[in-house]
Amino acid sequence: MATVETGPGRHPEWYAHATGDKFGKIADAPIGFGHMKRKEDARFIRGLGDYMDDVRLPGMLHGAILRSPYAHARINSIDTSAALAHPKVAAVIIAKDLETLGLAWMPTISYDTQAVLAGDKVRFHLQEVAFVIATDAYAAQDALQLIDVDYDVLPAIVNCRKALDPDAPLIRDDKVGQTDNLASPLWEAGDKANCDRVFAEADVVAKRTILDPRSHPCPMETCGMVADMNPATGQLNIYNGNQAPHAHRTVYAQVAGLPEQNIRILCNDIGGGFGNKVPVYPGYVCAIAGSIVAGAPVKWIEDRSENLASTGFARDYLMYSEMCSKGGKITGLRVDTIADHGAFDSTAQATKFPAGFFHIVTGSYDLQGAHCQVKAVYTNKAPGGVAYRCSFRITEAVYLVERMVDALAMEMNVDPVELRMRSFIRSDQFPYETQTGWVYDSGDYHKAMKLAMEIADYEGLRKEQQEKLARGEMMGIGIAFFTEGVGAGPRRHMDILGLAMNDGAELRVHPSGKAVVSLSAQTQGQGHETTFAQIVAEELGISPNEIMVRHGDTDKTPYGLGTYGSRSTPVSGGAVAVVSRKVRDKARQFAALMLETRAEDLAWEKGRWYVKGDPERGSTIESIAEYAYSASNLPEGLEGGLDANAVYDPPNLTYPFGAYIAVVDVDPGTGKVHMRRFIAVDDCGVRINPMVVEGQIHGGLVEGIGQALMEIISFDEQGNCLNASFMDYLLPTALECPEHGFELGETVTPCPHHPIGAKGVGESPCVGSPPAIANAVVDAMYHAKGVKHMDMPCFPARVWAAMNGREQPPQ
């Protein structure tokens, strides 16, 4: 059965249900912004989603990857003869086969190189060594066991500090001129001299060494690809759930030397991304090479262990931090960071920002001085450093500043909320330029913080904490106030691999007045098919149920850099608003003809142009659309049809913010943390669909609970990955979340420069919640035992160790 493109045409019977009385409840859909149930649900609740592993092509073969059992070893030889003799095996590919195709190494998103299959050495545990192609997936796995690789094991470096030792083994001896384990030059932001002066004048200084540990985005659907190279036409169709299909197409054209117009990427439904599906992985290149070699479509779907152990991890920032105050207010912050990028630097970032947006580290505070510097190192660990539900390292920055505010409040003996309230940037200071060079667009931080305290009954909680303490019970209250910078970004500042971080949109209104809008953004579950239809609806007055949102097919959508870094609404949403306005302007020209008046004499209300001063005389968008395609005579310069294109270049990032409060109970006997309550006040500007916004917040909060309490990718001394399955990489279940649900609040500070005033929300909850929870756990331990710091994840043994004064947490 050949797989065809996704869309309602494929399953007319269910689409009828989706839009008919039986199911869709058309009348409930707002013409524009507001609560609206999702259009995409129709196929998912029937099991008719179309994920990567659902793709079936005639003659399709199955790939599997042999991976290194060692973190660092020289490869002496690879014997594939037994695997090749397996009756179901079509081909076995190793590095030297890829060399002949020029595919042995591929560029990373950070201008480094990464081995597709290891040839000279393996540099991390479970690195890709060989690719087997067989007629079924079970047989491909069987054949892996028939490949014999002779290794000489080398010492592995898993500690980023040791990577910088002068006698540390050189990990990247493949790189000409590389003499140490630094992955990129030292990177700095902020005025160091000024910062030092602020510290010299400070009353109180707090110091902490903070590790934001390695975690993994871990979408429920793993990564994979079906590559289908047509040997006759040279057309390469790639079925692959990824967050940036257009950028991937360009990369494949560069890597494989294939003509870009012959490459078509089809992202149908994606089972979650969270940053994990931004990079190009070796398995993808293997699938493409496999299809070229085998002359047949090749499917490769990684298993859970491969996903956790080899694809883009997140965080792994070790931060030596100091924060100071004067006159009761926070005045300065400095931080020296070692970033562990693993064996290949494939960290996700914009070109001019080697440490991503980490230098937003001054957070929500009006500081007098700040300085941050980042050293990136190679280690024998899996490559990555992706932005896991994060705008390029902002999660690390927010974690750092919010932990440090609590640390400083402890040293000052002042309530952590009080210190924040004293030190916030005031609403009248926006637009506000930070000490590290960011220009925040808008905000009212005091208002959001007060609302969160009100929902939480903050004073009541503190009282309860004291009462519990008297009974020998441990309870903690944790605050985090985050400011994010999302929606990268302005083309004068930001690009990835030379590609401007803009997004395109194309809108076609059909003669019947129904529309198709095509996006360069790529949903992984965020609900684009609904919310982007709502943007068009808001701008043109067409029902969102009559607007089809098309994405995920590079042949049918305009160029753009995809969905990550909360870009969808700030950038792609901007493009959709702009393209809708272009169509509206064009509709005005037609309306003027229809109404026999001048365009400038017309006024717009949602869904129609009417004559100023005579509102009864007007033309609806539907009638205008019909007219635009009709055989009527048009004046010189006005083309028929009602459609437009736009590329949106955001003038600035958007800066959503929020006030979060976590309440935990800690078992003094076992160190077990119970997540009792979580209050989240978010300000993401204008909300297109509050239901979808709240869904995003819920999801991000649980990912924050995971990072704070249980998720870690750790390694033993030999460099073996210790968390390569769901037995040991723990995602929160419903039982680890507050029993009676999250408590949400909202304030709305519109973005002044965004066409619809929206700021983006996807990542906020995942950025703001880890420090809130970590602060709550430390707060509990501080009040009961005087403990001033612990690193995440706060799972029982580590909490117990911290409570009992241990220096190093157990891994």
Binding site: Q141, Q145, D667, G669, T670, G671, K672, M710, S714, L722, N723, M727, D728, L730, P732, T733, L735, E736, F795, P796, A797, W800, A801, P810, Q811
Partner: protein, 250 residues
């Protein structure tokens, strides 16, 4: 098998004989549980809740997750012989006896101390299967199961199972077992001996907890270092005994 750690030549599905081996019943002064009794059946059994309050229910409620409990069995739990498994601790604390049947219907009865001979190793011979577990009934019974885990559904970091029978203000029988702190489920015999014949008290249970701490032999691993597990074994043992006593005296 899925992870290719085991590659057996033959696999026999015993589910078709479930009707014969899924039962919880009283015979004389014993409760008998068939080897194919599902976790969900033990969780929801009124007979077990009445006879052994509330040790089965507490352990089963935290064993894996409800969907796994729909399929997993008493026999599977015991024969997997994972030292971190919850139900094995309950069976040890209750002094359960395993009934093994071999060729020709020959049966032998094995005490739990002899049943688990090491991690993932049992006394079940190559031609034998576990068919039933038998538990002595004691009047004045109270039991409890305490578990600390990294996350719901995970194997225990440490778990403690306690079973007491109390009559006339004196502990008549005692069972104490700890999971995940040794090569097999740890039977804390010294604590049991210290409890029998005494009046229940927090001080006594604290001493029993200290014995559990001292007598277990945990390893350091991803769930925690050995000294942590040793400490927690004591805390959980004390808590389990304390609640078991409260239930017995209820």
């Amino acid at each position: 098998m899925k992870l290719r750690l085991a590659n057996p030549g033959h696999v026999i599905d015993i589910n078709p004989i479930e009707p014969e081996l899924n039962y919880i019943r009283q015979e004389g002064n014993e409760i008998r549980i068939g080897a194919l009794t599902r976790h969900v059946n033990m969780l929801e059994s009124d007979l077990l809740a009445r006879t052994f309050p509330d040790i089965f229910r507490e352990a089963e409620a935290v064993l894996a997750d409800p969907v796994v409990r729909n399929r997993g069995t008493m026999g599977g739990s015991l024969c997997q012989s994972d030292p971190a498994e919850d139900l094995s601790g309950v069976v040890v604390a209750l002094k359960g006896k395993a009934v093994l049947r071999g060729p020709g219907g020959a049966e032998r009865v094995v005490e739990m101390d002899e049943f688990h001979i090491g991690p993932y190793m049992t006394a079940v011979g190559p031609t034998e299967m576990l068919i039933e577990v038998r538990f002595p009934i004691h009047p004045g019974f109270g039991g409890a199961h305490e578990k600390v885990e990294r996350r719901a559904g995970d194997f225990a970091i440490v778990a403690a199972s306690a079973a007491l029978s109390i009559q006339g203000g004196t502990i008549q029988t005692a069972g104490v077992a700890c999971s995940a702190v040794g090569p097999t489920t740890m039977h804390i015999k010294r604590a049991e001996e210290a409890l029998v014949g005494k009046a229940p008290s927090e001080e006594l249970f604290q001493q029993a907890g200290q014995m559990a701490s001292a007598d277990c032999s945990p390893n350091s691993d991803g769930r925690g270092p050995a000294d942590y597990k040793r400490a927690v074994a004591g805390v959980l043992t004390q808590r389990a005994l304390s609640r078991a006593a409260a239930t017995a005296l209820r």
